[in-house]
Amino acid sequence: MKEEIPLAVSDLTVAYHRKPVIWDVGFELPAGSLIGVVGPNGAGKSTLLKAVMDLTPRASGKVLVYGKTYRENRRRVGYVPQRESVDWDFPVDALDVVTMGLYGEIGWCLPVRRKHRQAAMDALDRVGIADFAKRQISQLSGGQQQRVFLARALVQDADLYLMDEPFAAVDAATERAIIDILGEMKESGKTAVVIHHDLQTVPEYFDYVVLLNMRVVAHGPVEDVFTNDNLQKTYGGRLTLLEEVSEAMRRRERSL
């Protein structure tokens, strides 16, 4: 039943300029659940997602998506990057951005056809901003922009979704829209891995949690793992040595 596991990571280490960002990370995530990835700033949460998708070179480790490499199962994965990662003044409208989620399916050099536009429209409708389809993206509020990104991932109809802080600085309506979408995903047996910052809402939104601070502090069902003790380990000062070592390595690298 190996292929039932949406995401299995083992021994994953990633380093930027030889400064380790995540050390020896390993976990297997259960299918059909909503998984929160929680940890302090600089804990390597975004890096983890990027390394899973081969966007960042790995120093070591193995990633399996439904039992195969990411490359082979790319189509089953939807990605929602951080909102700040792009230039929102870019001359495209909301519908255009959502259609980008279909570019792989459309194929190289072929034009976007009506059915793709319709699919993108439906995705915008699902996140509740179909009315803004023709708006230039800088004219959207932060929450609406976040929903455009969500729609772009939804339009691919993936099985595993990787989301980088979708709840960061969004309005209440967007937050509700995202929660509803997550609920729908869970119902249809899909899996979502969500980087999350707000500790208070973790038990409410997610049923599985990965506590990350350069390494996996703990992972498991929220009720077992999301304990004060574990949070203390994740956010507390216990890991300073690890940080100091990597900081020392970075300094050495710069002094060369």
């Binding site: 003044d89 001359p91 570019y103």
Partner: protein
């Protein structure tokens, strides 16, 4: 939006070009062999102008055709590099071509070929241009220097080496090398049919690549991480884009010159951004502007034989940029000014309606007449002219009536005013209960925010404050005159 860097770039190019015009006008006088009395730029006869404009000379036709296509290609390629924030790479590339041109000339002459054959020179230019770009990438990868430093250093070093080599070339081969300087400022006069063919092929090639890979390049420019996650080869696309830049730049050297080539890559695209919020429209507009600039520039240069074509092309580009900056239908200064005026008028209306409403509500109006103008003047710190203008506009819109110095609300005005006042007070209540701002200050705080509240936010406010329905809550603070001022003095 167009960033400061791009504007600075355009400014640089324009000043350079102005410099080129004056240089060229004075420096080349002895070589033209005309009489000394002929030092100023001579005005062409009508006949000359007519021949150029109607493209009657075969030579002019060839040159104009070439530069027009070049402008078109540069416009399209430029809109991608602009959005990818790689605009300056083109500049480094073009400056880095000079040593290659000189070395190619020296080598070819030494080996007994015609050193001035365009294909040989452009081959040299390509090699050293790409070498320059690779050097930048290498510096960026291996040192801690940032992009701009790497770019500036490589650009000037290569260009300096080129200028030095140019001196050597002139010493070695004497008058035979005349014409190599044309690559610096551009000289279309030397363009022949074969050259125009090269330009045509290169232009169609790079335009074709951009069109075929339009959607992929757009994705690359907008969100490279997402492109990577979808399995698009980001590196390959980047190289593809840079290749089109290389091709356009190299064939543009002859017509526009290496110093100004960057202008043709940046200015049309930057100008087009003022007219469109849609990538493909922007690319087309940019291509169109590039085309027209290329055409007009070459014609000007043909009519006034002393004006270098590169400078003329860039000048005309810049004229288009200035026009776009002011009149651009999406982000031009005029349209933005107009939007601001509209916003201010909307705010004025909201202030006026609420002021009248509150005056009437607190019984300070006169029965059957409404609120007197003087009462209204006291209500806020607004100028008489502004208030009168606002009253006049709302009168025309049918929201208020103004008779005998008394303002009162008409039926649609009452509905609007109560809606606005309700919003204002909901926001005040929110500030008091949730943001813990003192009641005496909330009016001013609310005043700044209320104009941007959209229906979603209002719905949220209603939910938070548990106030469904349409009733206007009582003001949480005393309704004083000029409460805005009072808030400040508090």
């Amino acid at each position: 939006m167009i960033r400061f860097r791009q504007i600075a770039l355009i400014f640089m190019a324009t000043t350079w070009m102005a410099g080129c015009v004056s240089l060229d006008a004075s420096d080349e006088v002895p070589s033209t062999g005309n009489s000394l009395a002929n030092q100023s730029i001579s005005w062409p006869t009508w006949e000359q102008v007519r021949r150029v404009v109607l493209l009657q000379d075969y030579n002019t036709r060839v040159v104009v055709f070439g530069t027009t296509l070049l402008g078109c290609a540069a416009g399209i390629v430029g809109s991608f590099t602009l959005l990818r924030r790689r605009a300056l790479m083109g500049d480094a590339l073009s400056h880095a071509t000079l040593p290659g041109i000189c070395i190619a000339f020296l080598l070819a002459t030494k080996m007994g070929y015609d050193g001035k054959s365009l294909s040989v020179l452009l081959l040299g230019a390509t090699v050293s241009g790409i070498l320059g770009m690779l050097t930048i990438l290498w510096i960026r990868k291996t040192t801690q220097l940032k992009d701009d430093a790497a770019l500036g250093a490589v650009l000037s070093v290569f260009f300096g080496a080129g200028v030095a080599l140019l001196g050597i070339v002139q010493q070695v081969s004497g008058g035979h090398s005349a014409g190599l300087e044309a690559f610096i400022y551009g000289k279309t006069a030397s363009m022949n049919v074969a050259d125009a063919k090269t330009i045509t092929m290169a232009a169609f090639g790079s335009i074709g690549l951009c069109l075929v890979f339009f959607k992929e390049l757009k994705l690359l420019c907008f969100d490279e991480k997402f492109a990577g996650s979808r399995g698009f080869p980001v590196m390959f696309l980047d190289i593809l884009l840079m290749m089109t830049v290389v091709v356009v730049t190299i064939v543009g050297l002859q017509a526009v010159g290496l110093v100004l080539m960057i202008a043709l890559l940046v200015i049309p695209a930057a100008a087009a951004r003022f007219w469109s919020d849609e990538m493909s429209n922007m690319a087309w507009i940019s291509a169109g502007l590039g085309m027209v600039s290329g055409m007009l520039g070459a014609e000007f240069s043909a009519v006034f034989s002393r004006l270098p074509s590169g400078a003329m092309i860039v000048l005309i580009c810049t004229a288009f940029f200035a026009i776009s900056l002011i009149f651009g239908s999406k982000h031009g200064l005029l349209i933005r000014g107009l939007r601001r005026v509209r916003l201010n008028r909307r705010i004025d209306r909201e202030h006026l309606l609420r002021a009248v409403y509150e005056k009437l509500e607190s019984g300070q109006g006169e029965v059957g007449k409404g609120v007197s103008f003087n009462e209204l003047m006291k209500k806020r710190s607004w100028s008489e002219r502004r208030l009168r203008g606002s009253i006049r506009r709302e009168q025309n819109a049918g929201l208020v009536s103004f008779e005998d110095q008394y303002v009162t609300l008409k039926a649609p005005g009452i509905a609007e005013a109560s809606r606005l006042t309700r919003q204002h007070r909901l926001w005040e209540l929110y500030l008091i209960t949730h943001a813990e701002i003192a009641p005496s200050r909330v009016d001013r705080e609310a005043d700044m925010i209320e104009h941007v509240l959209d229906p979603d936010m209002i719905a949220e406010l209603e939910l938070l404050l548990d106030r469904a329905g349409q009733d206007v809550p009582a003001s949480p603070h005393e309704l004083t005159d000029s409460s805005v001022k009072a808030g400040v003095e508090d």
